[in-house]
């Protein structure tokens, strides 16, 4: 483009206030036709809020938005959709009670004689989805397909609807590499057609791979916009964090492994996880590695008792124990931070303080309530220790960003001072800064003598803190690596052995 093109969308001075917090402060953004524009920032930096202000899901408190030079004021997502701004949200936001085709065409169904033409709708759904490399039956219920497929359907819907601007809010979080390649090739095709794409993600590699420019947000303010062709990852990360990421990379002292705390023999649950043996020592981290669905979360659930084992024995500090419910394991000094914090973890409408003391209260029993002052102190303590960013301890936890919610969840379990802490995907959907802090925290806890079991799909992270790594495949433990054996290559080889090479 030789002449300076007009921006298709121009937001100026957008601000949004929440009770007790400024979510967006005088933010401006220009999108040009045919560009992929990455929106970067830590959790809570205001990316999602900005998107919601653009699409009208939130009412902005100040600022103007121009689309093709004309001021627009979409009052709801439907309004912005009609103007040509399509959005794919972080979680799959489709209707699982309806078919794939109905989801794709909801609101713009092909009509004939004033009625929905179902046959045409299914036919066109098949065409649209095959453009994304998906060969599925669109007349089936959406819920009969995996999350990854649902995500692709959500993207396909937004792509079909968006005429001018397509917003992708962390679309790749649940996709594998092959699926990401497909998505990116579709995005490139769209930009050739002159569409402007906003891309939000935590994966910096992907940002550099697909994006032309990036705008970085921090604490609700714009830090800057960069042409990515002449920017480095370090530069971008520094802008996001406002500090260097040195601490996380600091070489840690060798783990001091203490006495055996938990010993599991032939432990398993039919249909969930094959029987396995495991010995856990104080002051060590066992990492659980494997593909999605390989049995990582299942192992965590069986040990914690949320899906109790139906065979095998467990000994804690030399004494035989029986774990048949989370209640019993909490009393024995276990803690589990689950993978899906929205459904299994946080209680969205309770305050941050109440969420933090929840497990501690449960462990003490309801007859011994924790006083308000004490709860306040415990919560404040952990908020400070874990650097949870919030406006007030009394705000509902659902208003916190993902990373801060995760930290509050960790605080909940740390408050019970567990001997054994199980973390399932502790860094999923979290920005770089919080990521590093949580890794740091895991290492600190280990040094303090806690025994940890961590399940994670991020191998790089897993090998930095694990003293032993258990590799799972098809709901079975296939390999245990320790000491110098531990490397990404070794883990990948164990996962891929026996022909299951689909990493």
């Amino acid at each position: 483009m030789s002449t300076t093109p007009e921006p298709v969308l121009q937001a100026t001075g957008v601000s949004k206030f929440f009770p007790g917090a400024i979510a967006l402060d005088d933010v401006s953004l220009s999108l040009y036709p045919g560009e992929v524009h990455a929106l970067l920032g830590e959790n809570g930096a205001g990316k999602s809020t900005l998107i919601k202000c653009l699409t009208g899901a939130y009412k902005r408190d100040a600022g103007t938005i121009l689309l093709d030079g004309k001021e627009i004021d979409p009052r709801d997502p439907q309004g912005s959709l009609a103007l040509g701004i399509g959005t794919v949200y972080q979680e799959v936001n489709l209707l699982s009670n309806m078919t794939v085709a109905e989801n794709l065409f909801l609101g713009w169904q092909p009509m004939r004689h004033g009625m929905i033409n179902n046959r045409e709708m299914v036919k066109r759904s098949k065409e649209v989805l095959s453009g994304f490399g998906l060969d599925i039956d669109p007349s089936q219920l959406l819920s009969s397909y995996s999350i990854a497929i649902q995500q692709v359907v959500a993207i396909a819907r937004a792509v079909e609807l968006a005429g001018k601007v397509l917003i992708l809010d962390e679309p790749t979080a649940s996709l594998d590499r092959e699926e990401i390649d497909l998505l990116f090739s579709v995005v490139r095709k769209l930009t050739e057609r002159g569409l402007a794409v906003v891309f939000i993600t935590h994966f910096l590699d992907q940002v550099f791979e697909i994006s032309d420019r990036a705008t970085i947000l921090r604490n609700g303010r714009i830090v800057g916009t960069r042409e990515l062709a002449n920017a480095t990852q370090t530069e971008i990360v520094t802008m996001m964090l406002g500090r260097q990421l040195e601490e996380a990379k600091k070489e840690r002292g060798k783990a001091v492994i203490g006495e055996t705390i938990l010993e599991l023999k032939n432990y398993g649950r039919r249909g969930t996880i094959e029987p396995f043996d495991m010995i856990l020592h104080k002051g060590e981290v066992i990492g659980l590695a494997g593909l999605l669905g390989s049995g990582r979360s299942e192992t965590a659930g069986v040990i914690f008792g949320s899906t109790p084992a139906d065979q095998g024995t467990a000994t804690l500090n030399g004494e035989a124990i029986k774990i048949d419910s989370p209640r019993s394991s909490i009393h024995l000094g276990f803690g589990l931070c689950p993978e899906d914090r929205k459904t299994d973890g946080i209680v969205g409408d309770l305050s941050v303080r109440e969420n933090i003391i929840l497990s501690l209260q449960a462990r003490r029993g309801w007859t011994r309530p924790i006083s308000r002052a004490k709860a306040e102190k415990i919560a404040e303590d952990y908020v400070k220790k874990l650097d949870i960013r919030l406006a007030s301890l009394d705000m509902p936890i659902r208003l916190l960003s993902g990373g801060n919610q995760q930290k509050a969840l960790l605080a909940r379990w740390l408050a019970t001072e567990p001997d054994i802490l199980i973390l399932d995907e502790p860094t999923r959907g979290i920005d770089v800064g919080a990521h590093a802090e949580i890794i740091e925290l895991i290492q600190t806890l280990r040094e303090q003598g806690m025994a940890l079991i961590v399940a994670s799909s991020e191998l790089e992270e897993l090998i930095t803190y694990s003293s032993r790594i258990v590799v799972l495949r098809d709901r079975r433990q296939v390999k245990e690596l320790q000491g110098d054996e531990i490397s990404i290559g070794a883990i990948v080889r164990s996962i891929a052995e026996e022909g299951g090479a689909q990493l």
């Binding site: 709801d76 936001n93 699982s96 009670n97 309806m98 989801n103 929905i116 060969d135 009969s144």
Partner: protein, 330 residues
Amino acid sequence: MMKSPRLPLYMTMATFVLAYMLCIWEFPSMFSSRVVANLLTDNAFLGITAVGMTFVILTGGIDLSVGSVIAFTGVFLAVILRDTSIHPLVAFGMVLAITIAFGAAEGAIVHYLEMPAFIVTLAGMFLMRGLAYVLSTDSVPITHEFYDVLQSIYWKAPGGGRFRLIGGVMLLVFIGAMIVLHRTKFGKNVYALGGGVQTAQLMGVPIARTTILIYATSGGLAGLAGIVYSLYTSAGYSLSTVGVELDAIAAVVIGGTLLSGGTGFVAGTFFGILIMGLIQTYIVFDGTLSSWWTKIVIGVLLFTFIMLQKVLAWATTARRKPATEFAMRS
């Protein structure tokens, strides 16, 4: 194939066929066009009400006001026709306008004030019942020649069954509702709302308009049911049709619609109504059973169908397909 949402519907249909066959086995005379015709005529007002209730429940809501709306409609018509010279057709139009507006107002309160439908329509239930009392506390007979004309319309089937106008109206309402639910954008929006209000909103479904329209539909159909009921009884009485809203909800649930919304079919509701009518007919034929047995059997059926839905829900979540479809890429 994964047609699991239709399974409760098929179960209801099978239940009806089986129950009817058992009835015929015991009382062969129940196999006649008279029984079928009466089934339709006697349950016409309930069926029409249940269609509106299906719409509401599909969105995850509830409408407790319909029974009172029917009673109000009946009293309103009776009083108007007694005290004025307005033609019944005009009176029908008036009362439909009132009940539609009433339903729309309930929907608007549910949406804009973010109130639970249970409370809003409970208030509506008292309000409408009270209004009916204000119009008249006595049963007011309707004697208008136009009513006689409407009541005398029927089609005599072989075997002596008389298929009357009101049964036909109910069938038309069911067919219309099926077309609306499955072949119009409004219908799809109803399902979308039941699948999740927030998600539906993000997908661009007009939440306010759909919610108001749904309660207006339910109110309007309750009004139509009231008209049908006044044709059926030739009177308007403020104490009539108490608890009909619960019968309608029962029919919807027996028909396989989930109370949590999003899944269900009007066809199921139709068979739900038939099953309930059949139980009543059976008790009449038997002659020795107390009519309260109707309630007991409906209670047992409700429990059975709720359990069935729970089992089906477990079965379908366990069968979720893994991400293997990607392997089929060309």
